[in-house]
Symmetry: C2
Subunit: 440 residues, 2 copies
């Protein structure tokens, strides 16, 4: 069966089971507040990056139960007839607010807040978490690579190392967090991410000689192309490249070897041959640490594959979607939270602010209240972190599509500038900002 | 822009750039053999599990360049007009053979072999690797969890921890590798994987008391349901569960705490209360090691989330797609391989066999030849590992859809039985079988 355009079954069965039971006993109509937050940052990093929000909003538009979905639920007796009728008419009519895409976050940051009836809000849990946990994990790793790369261009090329749709999302998240481009064409088509790429080793192996392969590539694309020089012998590859292309050769790419020493050798050889403006791109198993180790090397651009697409050791952000407040039986609100063990979380509606002193972020302030008395809209010296994404069921379309990606990338660059210097170190540590909780 | 049903742009730009240049110089028409293999097993495990093949075959059917795809490529000048015409008419017309889905594999196993012109075969690299690297990584991790769980049911519930589409693929791969069911409804609809799930903590928190929540759940689903007992206090939760449901309560689920001790306490309490047949399911941050550590505990079923969906530390299988042979300029075949560095690979067409002695697998035998003189169809005491998946562009539909998943799951169970006992240990080690190469 082919993938459905509906996103409604990208859902854990227990969401629909709870809905079913809640329609039976009437609790499904209680007004509820669910909150997305991370108990800690992935990989003991110093800051996290929110990504996926714009993608989520578009997927929410397709969260409808059509004939295929309803038939599956009926045939497999997942829910009863009354619930099927509810789902057939399902349309989220509540409110969603949250951190802007590209924003940085810390443990406890209320990244997304979903308000609606239990029925309409609970069934969004799986889709919301799938998108935010994946995309934020990639963006969080990508931001560190971007910090390490400094002003040098940084290309995402991890599509072959992750699921085929996740690859598109990863390219998008990396671009938001500071990458320059991607190899993934669908990310270009769907999200406007600039695409790049020239040739693989297969291109050289296809030809009778490396020289023939280079000459054909230059005939097709001109001398301002990048030649992959490490199929046979790197020194010979460089010599052949310059012989064929001349000293105006745009670039060479190195995909293997001990990169600091190889890059230095290649630079020296290019300079000796007069190709002083030929750029060097390196792409071999890079991660943020390898990029940082190349900072003093004569490298002009980086390409990152596996470690980007897999979140550099932390492929998921570990965010959860928790009920934090609900309507009381007799009206009014009750803050709720699981209390049994170490997984304890904090109930109540939360307003979030970043305290910024002389242009430097100092604290994450979370004000806890009831939904009907939510905290002040403004706080002195603080930036309000939440914005309305969906109101009365209507998606704010300014966050969607390629325009949303462009805005998220700009927002991330802006808020990263605000971070204290200690936030930019690569070693494992505590979060760079402390999260403090206040009562409204 | 919404996802396209076409899979053609789930492709790295350099594939199309090489195609473009190859159409210019005529090399794109050379017959080629590309091979998918892993240089090593993910996470120093003892065997790998091939998964994704059936999914890949369906995605190949949709690998067509439609108006949207062509417009993007034209507007962004990715390729020239001649190449656009080629892509407009693109349809893979070659042959693909490979390991059956569910088969185990070792370093160097020729998991997939794609034969066709350079033009038609090179542009499949990204899609092929995305699918096989993701799904095989999940299946390889899942098989170890399945070994550790023994006869106890094992549910996949990792959808909230990975991308929303990869979650469906992960549920499918886990089922092939021995899991019993999934929480993911779309995996049920699309692939026929059995689905499961009852309630989350939000269900209990929604109600005025744990007792009210349990009573409502039992009214909706009967006493043979599973109650989540760790929202407030586990001992009180168990007492309340049995008080409300009676001693015929189907099961309880524990999602936090030190599981060996908690499971023992809960079992003792249930037995004391007379609920001796009530099953215990545990779901808190399990991986293959935690499952193994619970082997002697009174646990009846496991649910695994994060570690399954992220490949338990190895989220990608690290397979590559390499040109291993091509047509010579004057006819005949040439074996080719990158030779510069440590990334060296082995050229030539490969036939793969598993040597099995008295029912136990002993070696992986790879016979290297030219494509027109490929190895013997049979070898004494060996099982041929490759089968034809696509012939003359026609997909063998028996490997697709839910039927393909069922067959892959059965095949995996069968071939896992053949593995030597040392293959089933969880510690990091060398591959359980050595791969040896022979000339035809």
């Amino acid at each position: 069966m082919t993938p459905s355009p509906s996103t409604a079954l990208l859902t854990d069965r227990y969401e629909l089971t709870m809905l079913d039971a809640g329609l039976h006993d009437g609790t499904a109509q209680r007004r509820c507040v669910f909150e997305v937050f991370g108990r800690r940052l992935p990989g003991e990093r110093r800051f996290g990056v929110v990504a996926g929000t714009g993608r989520l909003l578009s997927l929410l538009r397709d969260f409808r139960f059509g004939d295929d979905e309803l038939r599956f639920l009926r045939d497999n007796r997942v829910v009863d007839a009354e619930t099927l009728t509810f789902l057939e008419n399902y349309r989220f009519s509540g409110t969603i607010s949250g951190y802007r895409e590209g924003e940085v976050y810390f443990p406890g940051s209320p990244i997304l807040t979903v308000e609606g009836t239990f029925a309409e809000a609970v069934i969004l849990e799986t889709l919301v978490l799938s998108v935010l946990n994946h995309d934020s994990a990639i963006a969080t790793a990508a931001a560190r690579m971007s910090v390490a790369a400094g002003d040098r261009p940084l290309a995402e090329m991890g599509s072959r190392r992750t699921g085929e749709q996740e690859a598109v999302a990863a390219a998008r998240a990396a671009y938001i967090a500071g990458f320059t481009s991607t190899s993934n064409l669908e990310a270009g088509r769907r999200w406007g991410v600039p695409t790049m790429g020239t040739a693989a080793h297969a291109w050289t192996l296809l030809h009778d000689s490396e020289q023939a392969a280079f000459a054909a590539q230059i005939r097709a694309f001109g001398t301002d192309t990048t030649l992959l020089i490490d199929t046979y012998d790197i020194a010979e590859g460089v010599a052949t490249a310059v012989r064929v292309a001349g000293t105006d050769l745009g670039g060479v790419r190195i995909d293997s070897g001990d990169l600091p020493s190889v890059a230095a050798q290649v630079r020296a050889q290019l300079d000796d041959l007069g190709a002083t403006r030929t750029r060097i791109t390196v792409t071999s198993d890079l991660d943020e640490y390898a990029i940082a180790a190349l900072a003093a090397s004569p490298v002009d651009a980086y390409g990152v594959g596996t470690s980007l697409a897999t979140g550099s050791g932390s492929p998921t952000a570990g965010m959860v979607y928790k009920l934090v407040a609900r309507e009381e039986t007799g009206g009014g609100w009750r803050s709720v939270a699981k209390t049994s063990t170490d997984k304890g979380s904090r109930g109540g509606w939360k307003s979030a602010y970043r305290e910024v002193r002389r242009g430097v972020a100092t604290r994450e302030i979370v004000v806890v209240s009831d939904p009907d008395e939510s905290g002040p809209a403004e706080r002195d010296g603080c930036r309000r972190l939440q914005t309305t994404l969906v109101e009365g069921g209507e998606v704010n379309s300014t966050f969607e599509g390629p325009a949303g990606v462009t805005a998220a990338r700009a927002h991330h660059a802006h808020v990263r500038e605000e971070l204290p210097v200690r936030a930019l170190a690569l070693s494992r540590s505590d979060p760079a900002l402390e999260t403090i909780y206040l009562s409204a």
